[in-house]
Symmetry: C2
Subunit: 257 residues, 2 copies
Amino acid sequence: MHRPSPLVRKLSHGARLSREDCERLAAVERDRRIVAPRTDLIIEGEEPEHVHLVVSGYACRYKTLDDGSRSIMALLVPGDFCDLHVAILGRMDHSIATVSECEIVRIARPTIERLTERYPTVTRALWWATLVDEAVLREWLVNMGRRKTNQQIAHLFCELYVRMRTVGCTDGNSFAFPLTQDELADTLGISTVHLNRSLQKLREDGLVEFQGRVVTVPDLDRLSRYAGFTANYLHLRVLPDEPPVADERPRGRCGPR
Amino acid sequence: MHRPSPLVRKLSHGARLSREDCERLAAVERDRRIVAPRTDLIIEGEEPEHVHLVVSGYACRYKTLDDGSRSIMALLVPGDFCDLHVAILGRMDHSIATVSECEIVRIARPTIERLTERYPTVTRALWWATLVDEAVLREWLVNMGRRKTNQQIAHLFCELYVRMRTVGCTDGNSFAFPLTQDELADTLGISTVHLNRSLQKLREDGLVEFQGRVVTVPDLDRLSRYAGFTANYLHLRVLPDEPPVADERPRGRCGPR
DNA sequence: CGCGTCCTTGACACCAGTCAAGCGTTGTGG
DNA sequence: CCACAACGCTTGACTGGTGTCAAGGACGCG
């Protein structure tokens, strides 16, 4: 027996998956491909035939406005679907790109449909995943609207730490974080310069370390208190006290191999 | 034959509902109750037994932070579900309150489950509705992050005009908008004073009128261009050129009666 | 070695938040 | 019917957070 995939780890918080369910999900994940960093997977306006799933690395949802500014509306980590919704909505209303090098699974739409027609538990799990995505979006909205910059950054790091841990992609107190500061600024809705200075403040206060595409959170409790972070909106079954998995990837990578 | 309910009008953009489907949905909407303005329907942390649907009036999703500030993460207008997700996620991660006086339908969870088990088209329509909610959240994130205040306000008004029109709640160029400026500021993530001054600017420029809980958009095209608004993320089948419905409610109210 | 990408820093302007007061409207009770 | 209170909108003054522009520096890659 080998370790479960990020997807299975994540979905097991959303439904009680039988061993068969897990195997069905695993079967779907077989066809993987490596995608270079900063590569578009889907572009706004397309009507893709495949659903994409991140197995390792970071991807993001984004939109580019008329004036050239960019908004990153979601970070996709291992176990996250990129576009489960497109089967129903039809046309993409935003683009998706890799941030780091990624392993991506492409799943034909009929495969998903077959899965959801036959296995209600799997359906429920997928349903759950998209609802959690929605909850994350709401929290980001709160973050941008009503928290001050430092808290906002800290909050994002708390969230990512917990999300990465639930899919087994943390290494002790650290996790991979391949975004440039420009990209991070675009996800927080602030300017690069301001982000840079705020980050320095957080480092000075010993709340986070940030070097070489790896973020370290020395004391998650302290950072959470600082940011006003609670994991409730992630709707994890096993609460975030779940001990980090023992053996993990070395620095700068994320996802199983 | 009487006019379709806001819910049915809205969902018909998401799936090709048969007449029977429409009747099933209408049946569910029979048990209505009036709720006073500024009343909580559900509070963060609860595990409600019912799903709520807005038939008339405005409601909102919101969170209150530790420092007392409030963030409004969604405006719910006629035809919108408040908490379809709670059946799967279990616990509410935010609260929902009425803004104006509302007509609210309460639907027992088993009723929803029965509906979705038997009628795939209805299921698809509900699925679609929650995905549109998610798309709206993404657009709001863009709005807060990368548009300047005036555009941001204008964009929200464009969105609401189109949403209200698709459920038959506009009156020519006008629609009900019962939020106070404090509430509007909390949904845009800015301060009341700043909002007030920005609003005045929009009025001076003749882009929107705003009086007595009614917003008027004299020229939707102009406002859309100003705000950088496109309706694509609302995923409506009939594009927003759809002429406003002929007979409509008078000022200050919304929703059928 | 040289170029490009990303991070860092300084200077400066201005957008936006806060505090505080005034005004208008509404509704309620004497 | 009027007075008062409550609420929401508006305004001014002031401060500080945040964006912009620009330049320098560190690092990695070809």
